[in-house]
């Protein structure tokens, strides 16, 4: 029997390439949909004309598109990408399908930071960043540093200690925001903004803020791409990874740093949005299987499209009023997650 000629390219990578291309197309489509929909109607036709024939949009339309909708849609895409990638990293690190981006405590610090910003420094802004965006980012990163140093004993970190320390620190911080709320003299206005932030809502960022966050996002996604092969090895367990020559502690620090940076980017742009980081990696696993090298791009693109769509719904469902996207996400994500849980039960035993 004659041997078949060997393919230079592995068939699975061809399929992954096709999936990624389809997802890129889907993301572009959702972004276009996101820009077209909104409380004020701007027709797709006039937008295309403006692009192709540089026929100017009306000044109002221009402001709505360039200063409000496009930044918001891009922010939603970035938040979705960041949360999904962080969820994937932490699920791989903890070898647990229930881990999410906030699992080691970044949400607690972010809540405290955002509360301080809204109640005490509502007017502050710096380089296009609102005080909330800045302090939520800083709070989230600082919390991880504290949690990691608490969980590190004798040169190594036990994964369970990390989870428990994260839980304790995060809970303490988010409840201590109560004492800041008491100081509120704004007759509850700041608190209502805070409530909406806690339920997750993508704001309208300035372009500089988008630029900085975009840089941080692409930096940490490159980090995640480097770590993705190691995540496959970590699936065999820390000790097995060690005997395969992996410096487990270094990889773990890398994952925690990258994952926390991603979570901080998301929190800074969109408040606390649940479920995305939990379900999108599972969705991607249904498409691509458990190999993290293939999963990462699929997870990132799916997460971005998913959040752009959900955020568009959040803006338009009760327009001109707005539902916090986190609440919508709970209604979409919750049932979907339960469905996944029952469907893939056997895959997650042991």
């Amino acid at each position: 029997m004659a041997e078949k000629p060997r393919l230079d390219v592995h068939p699975t990578s061809v399929r992954t390439g096709a999936v990624v291309a389809a997802l890129v197309l889907a993301l572009v489509c959702t972004i276009v949909v996101g820009i077209t929909c909104g409380a004020v109607h701007v027709s797709l036709h006039s937008m295309i004309l403006a692009l192709l024939h540089s026929r100017a949009l009306s000044p109002d339309d221009r402001v709505i598109l360039m200063e409000i909708r496009l930044p918001r849609v891009l922010a939603a895409a970035m938040v979705g990408a960041a949360l999904s990638a962080a969820g994937l990293l932490f699920q791989g690190l903890f070898r647990n399908p229930l881990a999410d981006p906030y699992v080691i405590g970044s949400s607690g610090g972010a809540v405290l930071g955002a509360t301080i910003a809204m109640v005490l420094l509502p007017q502050l802004s710096w380089l296009g960043f609102s005080a909330v965006a800045l302090l939520a980012f800083a709070g989230s990163v600082a919390t991880i540093a504290v949690v990691y140093s608490l969980a590190r004993v004798g040169g190594t970190t036990q994964v369970v200690t990390l989870l428990l320390a994260g839980f304790a620190v995060s809970t303490m911080l988010s409840y201590s925001s109560y004492f800041v709320e008491v100081l509120d003299r704004d007759y509850g206005l700041g608190l209502r903004v805070l409530a909406s932030w806690l339920h997750g809502s993508v704001g309208v960022p300035q372009w500089t803020q988008l630029g900085v966050m975009g840089l941080l996002l692409s930096g940490s996604l490159s980090g995640a791409a480097i770590l993705s092969r190691r995540l496959n090895t970590l699936a065999l367990g820390d000790e097995y990874a060690q005997q395969l020559g992996v410096h487990v502690e270094r990889v773990r620090i890398g994952i925690i740093l990258t994952g926390s940076l991603l979570a901080a980017v998301a929190v800074s742009l969109g408040g606390l949005i649940g479920f995305v980081g939990l379900i999108v990696p599972h969705l991607a696993r249904l498409i691509a299987g458990p190999d993290h090298v293939r999963l990462l791009p699929i997870t990132v693109l799916t997460g971005a499209s998913f959040l752009v769509l959900t955020d568009t719904l959040a803006r338009t469902l009760m327009a001109p009023a707005e539902v916090p996207v986190g609440i919508l996400m709970a209604f979409i994500g919750g049932p979907f997650f339960l469905y996944l849980l029952r469907r893939t039960k056997r895959g997650y035993t042991a």
Binding site: H10, R95, N96, P97, I226, R229, R230, N232, T233, A235, L236, G237, E239, Y240, A241, Q242, Q243, L244, G245, V246, H247, R285, G289, P290, D291, T344, R346, G347, Y348, T349, A350
Partner: protein, 258 residues
């Protein structure tokens, strides 16, 4: 000839509890060694020391004359593979994906599997006879199948020394026989093996050397007929010695199984 692996007065403590006291032995290339001893006697600890996963509290461990601690982790991983008692894997990784992980010590952070990696993987799959399981999900395999996949993962590392931690544990009679046949085959292929074994009747005919580790008896290493003597086993296992001659040997059992 320089021994493959040698322990020089190695002791190991977990906290204040001494698990291994003054281990002194060496294993030559070409040997197929059975590690025996009572439960909690330090067999697993000894294997983990030999794989460089634990550092001896005192003494040193040499591999081909070079101290393990002086070698990089990657280097050790290219020389020695340890197949642990159990391997828990989250998510639905397939057998193929798991065996591919055995190439980790040869890969950088970037770049995928090369031709030599793929041929090592194929060889490991072929030797362990798990070709038909390739696309099955690891978590859905039976105990005997998992054991084979774990050994294939170890073999994909192309180690000079393969350490097996109780490979026949929890296997039914037929799967035990298959596994012993696999160990014989690997030995014939020139793979150096050090395996912790509970069932003493499986040793003769398969292993060339026996290493005894027991809290009640000094370290002993030698051919099976020298170590597997009632007077030694009685002290080492603290029980009336079984008469191994009255137990059917592997070959007689295999004939019976046919």
């Amino acid at each position: 000839m320089r021994p493959l692996l040698s322990f020089e007065r190695v002791s190991f403590y977990y906290g204040h509890r001494q698990v291994i006291a003054g281990a002194e032995f060496s294993i030559d290339a070409g040997a197929c060694t059975a590690l025996i001893g009572p439960n909690g006697g330090g067999k697993t600890t000894l294997l983990r020391l030999a794989a460089g996963l634990l550092q001896p509290s005192t003494g040193q461990i040499l591999f081909e004359g070079v101290e393990l601690l002086a070698r990089s982790r990657r280097d050790v991983a290219q020389q020695i593979a340890l197949v642990p008692q159990d391997l828990q894997i989250p998510f639905s990784f397939t057998v193929q994906q798991i065996v591919e992980q055995g190439r980790t010590p040869y890969l950088g952070l970037f770049g995928g599997l090369g031709a030599s990696d793929r041929s090592a993987i194929e060889r490991a799959i072929e030797l362990t006879g798990i070709g038909p399981l390739r696309h099955r999900i690891f978590n859905e395999l039976s105990g005997g199948e998992r054991q084979r996949v774990k050994i294939a993962l170890g073999l994909a590392q192309e180690p000079k020394l393969l350490l097996l931690d109780e490979p026949t544990q929890n296997l039914d009679f037929g799967r035990q026989m298959e596994l012993i046949a696999l160990i014989r085959q690997l030995r014939a292929e020139g793979v150096n093996i050090l395996a912790a074994v509970h069932d003493l009747a499986l040793i003769s005919g398969t292993f060339s050397t026996v290493l005894l580790i027991s809290p009640y008896e000094r370290f002993r290493i030698g051919p099976p007929e020298y170590i597997l003597q009632p007077v030694i086993l009685e002290r080492a296992f603290q029980c009336p010695a079984p008469n191994l001659n009255s137990l059917p040997s592997f070959d007689r059992r295999r004939e019976f199984a046919r």
